[in-house]
């Protein structure tokens, strides 16, 4: 029981950044924009988030710094793909390359520093309930925030008029434009939301997961978040399942390494990446009847005047 509780707690902790980043990217892609720069926005969010928290001594300031940094990165992407109609795949790659360099530059002065990680919720009585108490009532704020974010995005996409318009823009930008909706403006807001989430997800890593910054600490999580959006078939609910499944794979391989089944640790470490490939293949294969992706995903739109 104690081991199971520890595993569930660890899975929640490992899944949260994936969930936050993937939720943001889901909104971006639902508006028809494929931003492959999630990894780059996350790693800059991590460096700025840690910097903000270390200089101010406040986790919240750190998280806000991460969000601002991610949003700023996404604005570069928006200017390129929406303003200049540049290929989204190439721009996303450029954003990742730039982000890795920038985070190294910004984060170099913080390497070796430590902060007090984000506090965990503690409600006397509730948190002390055996097993369920710490899982339900003993998480840090990011975990609750990530779940609220998914619910909020689901509500926005399916229960509001603005969400309907956003989905329309992602499915057919020509029709949406003909109806008078400002396609590029809506897409820019969606890209910024994706950037803010990626920045927050990146900031989570040094603020709550490990209380220090190391260059390259996102370790491909941004790319896994992108794969999760495909896995979820662009539905927020399935994103939660996907994120926790991937968190579970990450944690189980760590436990398996600890138990030492005689399998080299590198093979275990490769598991989350291999799992991503296998899941992508299975999901794409199951979907041969027709794609569930937003119809205009990744296509350039230059309004006719």
């Amino acid at each position: 029981m104690v081991l199971l509780e520890a595993i569930i707690l660890a899975v929640l902790a490992a899944s949260t950044p994936l969930l936050i980043a993937a939720t943001g990217e889901l909104v971006t892609e639902r508006a028809g924009v494929l931003n492959l720069g999630v990894e780059g926005m996350m790693i800059v969010g991590a460096a700025c988030g840690f910097g903000g928290a270390w200089l101010s001594g406040s986790i919240i300031v750190g998280a806000v710094c991460g969000i601002i940094a991610g949003t700023a990165m996404s604005l570069i992407f928006a200017a390129m793909t929406l303003g200049l109609a540049v290929n989204q795949v190439a721009t996303g790659l450029a954003l990742t390359i730039l982000g890795i360099g920038l985070s190294g530059l910004i984060g170099s002065r913080f390497v070796g520093e430590k902060i007090t990680p984000a506090p965990h919720l503690n409600i006397p009585g509730l948190t002390d309930i055996p097993f369920a108490g710490r899982i339900l009532f003993g998480q840090n704020g990011f975990v609750y925030l990530s779940l609220a974010l998914v619910v909020g995005v689901w509500w926005f996409l399916y229960k509001t008029r603005a969400g309907l318009i956003l989905r329309a823009v992602g499915d057919n930008h020509v029709s949406a434009h003909a109806l008078g909706y400002p396609v590029l403006k809506i897409r820019m807001l969606a890209v910024m939301f994706g950037g803010a989430c990626a920045g927050l997800a990146g900031a989570y890593l040094p603020l709550a997961y490990t209380p220090f910054f190391i260059p390259g600490m996102t370790a491909g999580r941004g790319w896994i978040a992108l794969a999760l959006v495909v896995f979820s078939s662009w539905l927020p609910g399935r994103l939660v399942i996907g994120a926790y499944l991937f968190g579970a794979v990450t944690i189980l391989q760590l436990h398996a390494q600890g138990a030492g089944f005689g399998i080299p640790s590198q093979f275990m470490s490769a598991m989350p990446y291999l799992a991503t490939v296998i899941v992508l293949v299975l999901i794409s294969r199951a979907r041969t009847g027709g794609s569930t992706a937003p119809a205009a995903l990744g296509t350039v739109f230059v309004p006719d005047r």
């Binding site: 790659l93 890795i100 360099g101 370790a219 491909g220 080299p264 093979f267 979907r287």
Partner: protein, 363 residues
């Protein structure tokens, strides 16, 4: 008044020619600002980056050595990108090529194997890289899985696999527990061109690859098919071109070239297999491919230019204590400007009045 983007009636050849130069110019301006922010004198920093490496023969050779893998990989990537197949896992194919070729070097270590070893290693490296690149390509054409994500995930897998080999079965028993294989035998190394120099046979191979790429794209039906499939997929379908087959082909070629670059690097300048054999060649090659306009000769020039930034970055770190990450920032910014300037080949900006009633000027 409002600034809007509009499609040109036809592509601008003038901008196509000067756009890489504008991009480099804008990058240098941006970098100068960054140097000022870092508290360095921008003039002397730019001098260390772009001029100093060109002034001594050691650095010149080193630029060619660094450009070798960049150009080789980028030629392959350009074929993929022209065909609209997004292989971004060249880094992984580079590592697997290095591993596949090193297998023979490790197995023949200390035996009296003859001069066939090195060519056989290069062949194995190319095959290893091609097979590894075919995994995402097959996942794409058989199951429709995004080749972008799968090829990238396999980079991490390749990295861990190489790490396992040099810490486990292939570790040099006399290597003081360092994660590396033993130095390769002389018959298992790529020879240098000038005695005592650093320039090796790989440079010649790269030039041959550039020539082959130019012939393939400019003079063969396959090259024509690759370009049509990417530029006009509908027309390609009407023409009966098999785009799935071209995805497999371009991935296989680019994987083979990345793998070849990997084994040439290991059997050449490095001399043994160890982690960290690539400072991100597979990713920088993406920039090289775009800066070179997906054109073989352009890629050769772009590869030399990016190699210059690697060498300049190292010298700037030593001479001016400028962090190495500045080089990566530089490369990222450069790619942004290249893509942005390329957009102006097809589009142009126009200032329009916000009021629709005002008559438009002649287009």
């Amino acid at each position: 008044m409002q600034l809007v983007l509009e499609k040109r009636a036809e592509r601008s050849n003038t901008i196509a020619l000067v756009s890489p130069l504008i991009a480099i110019g804008l990058t240098i301006v941006t970098m100068s600002i960054l140097f000022v922010i870092l508290g360095k004198n921008p003039i002397s920093a730019l001098g260390v980056y772009f001029i100093d490496p060109l002034t001594d023969s050691y650095s010149l050779q080193e630029i060619a050595v660094k450009a070798t893998p960049l150009v080789m990989i980028a030629i392959g990537l350009s074929l993929c990108y022209l065909a609209n197949a997004w292989n971004i896992g060249a880094e992984g194919q580079f590592l697997i090529g290095a591993v596949a070729g090193s297998w023979l070097a490790v197995k023949t270590q200390g035996t009296d194997a003859g001069y066939w070893v090195m060519p056989a290693m290069l062949l194995l490296g190319a095959i290893g890289g091609a097979l590894y690149a075919l995994i995402p390509a097959i996942c794409k054409v058989k199951f429709g899985a995004s080749e972008i994500l799968t090829s990238l995930m396999l980079v991490y897998v390749a990295d861990l696999f190489l790490d396992y080999l040099v810490r486990g079965p292939w570790r040099d028993p006399a290597g003081f527990n360092f994660p590396t294989t033993a130095e390769f035998d002389p018959v298992a190394t790529v020879p240098v061109l000038i005695e005592g120099g650093r320039l090796h046979l790989g440079a010649i191979i790269t030039l041959a690859v550039v020539a082959a790429g130019a012939v393939l794209l400019g003079r063969t039906i396959k090259g024509f098919e690759i370009r049509v499939v990417g530029a006009a997929p509908r027309a390609a379908r009407f023409g009966g071109f098999n785009s799935n087959q071209l995805i497999l082909l371009t991935f296989a070629i680019s994987g083979a070239l990345a793998g070849l670059a990997g084994i040439v690097e290991v059997a050449g300048p490095v001399g043994h297999l160890q982690p960290g054999i690539s400072p991100g060649y597979g990713f920088t090659a993406i920039i090289v491919a775009f800066l070179g306009r997906l054109n073989p000769v352009g890629i050769l020039i772009a590869g030399l230019f990016l190699a210059l930034t690697f060498i300049g970055g190292e010298q700037a770190q030593i001479a001016m204590k400028i962090p190495l990450d500045v080089t990566k920032v530089f490369q990222g910014i450069l790619l942004f400007y290249v893509l942005a300037c390329d957009s102006l080949i097809l589009y142009r900006f126009r200032l329009i009045s916000s009021s629709p009633k005002v008559s438009r000027g002649a287009a």
